[in-house]
Subunit: 348 residues, 2 copies
DNA sequence: CTGAAAGCGCTTACAG
DNA sequence: CTGAAAGCGCTTACAG
């Protein structure tokens, strides 16, 4: 707070009252042309920058929103952040971007901070069961919109994508290629997307007449390293899967890293389906078959919804469609697989 | 600003004055044990959350910093953001993350916003020549630290990495493998890194006795698409380069995408050296030879420096070392290259 | 259209 | 250790 030119200084220089200066500077039409001219010039000469904090204190409104994301290094969330922030900027609002680091504790910390900053509303991709600070925040009446993830049983408008459909399409595609031993690297079960995608995988297998096999599931945490570890462990099985689905973009990278390490040819020795169609996945070779959704649209949409909530409107939740982009990382089951002989499936 | 419990409410409930409540809540030691107990309980019962904006107005200090980055979707800057934000959080400071979108206009907009928010200081990876808002901001006396990029002639402490050395090592490595037609995809010349890396490339060539060839240079903007376009155009030359260096991580992805498109075998038909060793580049196959620096260290360091500046200490600028990580994307010049016969080099 | 005054919620010398 | 009072910088009914 180095900057000490106040509206009073401007008023004085312009020869008007602070009230008039304020009116001119905030575009209140009840001002004379001469007042406008004088005040504007004085403000320019003095390099006046309004103190947004004093202003918000008085106005009881901060024109600031909180954007609470689990991991800014995840390209998927980076896209959401970019889109939401740009939308907010266009609407004249400042974004406080908070990086929960996939940690509920840090999420709580940031929630506290956002309340202290008196943001007008929050867009969050939440974590946990809403038992802690999140519930408290909602109870405070702070307008909230969920993006990508939700908390079950908490009544907050949300923009999510159709995880069920995405995973179902992925499983079907693999089954169609003859795969029956399909591994799954799931994300944190503390999140709705982690749970949904895993359940969708199980359900899709059952529908295809394949009994879900626990030994083919690995629990990651949406970060690259966990995907790497998970894939190593799956591929180390005496009967390894012939295909693997990873439940987010970073874990997908980990799976690909593991394949590279082991010298597996993706799309031949092992079929891989990733999540999120990012710049990154698009640079991989062979091209990755991915479950694709649109993070930029989610971010933009989430901000639009928050504005509606702030405007006192009721807003329904939205589920965005998802598609399976088929490239070269998926192929028929290799004949020489250890698992080709012993898999029986569908018995019940 | 829905939350209306004020420190006065807490004081009243605790049976003390607002002054005492304030002292307790902000850890001022001049309080009695009994006052502490009563105030804390009242605050808990009322779910009091201090109004950080009122507080900062009074204290003339916001405990908030601005972090102005050119592109949050760039994994390199995402890492810087993550590290700087975590460091700030640990120090009890809030980060206002601003995404300039590689646009000087948007940078100016955010600079204005940060001044209005009265942040205590700013960490920026700046753009342009500092003729606009940036100079104005510095003139205001707002503490500033540059990260990754600098503005020449502007006296602000900075954390950068040794671009000269990085590019020099890359060129040497390629020359050592026999390459003489080395393409370069450079970033925006509006940035110090864009300019430095290009100059370093030219200089390294000269040192190796190779005359820089304009037709082998392409001007990108640090985004994926521009790398893709640049690489396509280089590879479309009647005498294409046998090796390409890309000047940032996103453009590197673009170059790799172009190679995939054209079915080139990276490391054989074409050698590629990228910039930044991110999760992404580590998932590529063949493994990418990259100029590697440490964005997390830069972010942490930048925050530490800003704290020093805020503490009134003089801080020297730092240039972090850079290394060339050699993987499989670089190899000897292919014998069947169109350029193998006509290149003469070193004539002057 | 304009100004004097009050007040947003907090902290901090000051006096005790 | 505690409280009354002032003031951070702004905006906005209110009266004119």
């Amino acid at each position: 707070m180095r900057q000490n030119v106040t509206i009073r200084d401007v008023a004085q220089r312009a020869g008007v009252s602070a009230a008039t200066a304020s009116r001119v500077l905030s575009g209140n039409p009840s001002t004379s042309a001469s007042a406008r001219a004088k005040v504007r010039q004085a403000a320019r000469e003095l390099q006046f920058h309004v103190n947004a904090r004093a202003k918000s204190l008085r106005r009881q409104q901060t024109d600031t929103i909180g954007l609470l994301l689990p991991d800014i290094r995840n390209p998927f969330f980076a896209e959401i952040a970019q889109a939401a922030e740009q939308a907010a900027l266009a609407a004249g609002m400042t974004t406080l971007l908070c990086n929960a680091n996939e940690s509920t504790a840090q999420q709580d910390l940031y929630l506290k901070l956002l309340v202290a900053q008196r943001v007008d509303g929050i867009i969050a991709a939440p974590q946990g069961d809403g038992s802690g600070k999140l519930d408290e925040t909602i109870a405070l009446g702070l307008p909230l919109v969920f993006v990508d993830r939700v908390i079950e049983g908490v009544d907050v408008p949300s923009v999510t994508s159709d995880n069920w459909s995405g995973v179902r399409q992925a499983v079907r595609h693999l089954v169609g290629l003859g795969h029956r031993r399909i591994g799954f690297v799931t994300g944190s079960q503390e999140t709705s997307t982690g749970r949904e995608r895993l359940q969708a995988y199980r359900e899709a297998l059952v529908r295809a007449g394949i009994r879900p096999d626990k030994t083919l599931i690995r629990y990651g945490n949406f970060q690259t390293e966990s995907g790497l570890v998970a894939a190593r462990s799956l591929l180390d099985l005496s009967q390894p899967p012939t295909a693997v689905i990873a439940a987010d973009s970073l874990m997908t990278l980990g799976v690909v890293q593991a394949c590279n390490e082991l010298g597996l040819v993706i799309g031949e020795t092992l079929s891989v389906i990733g999540y999120d169609d990012t710049e990154t996945t698009r640079a991989l070779s062979p091209g990755l078959t991915v479950i694709s959704h649109d993070p930029a649209a989610m971010g933009t949409q989430a901000f639009a919804m928050l504005r509606d909530v702030l405007g006192g409107r009721r807003v329904p939740s939205v589920v965005l469609p998802v598609s399976l982009v088929i490239r070269n990382s998926t192929g028929p089951v290799p004949l020489v697989s250890a698992s080709a002989t012993s898999e029986s499936g569908a018995r019940r």
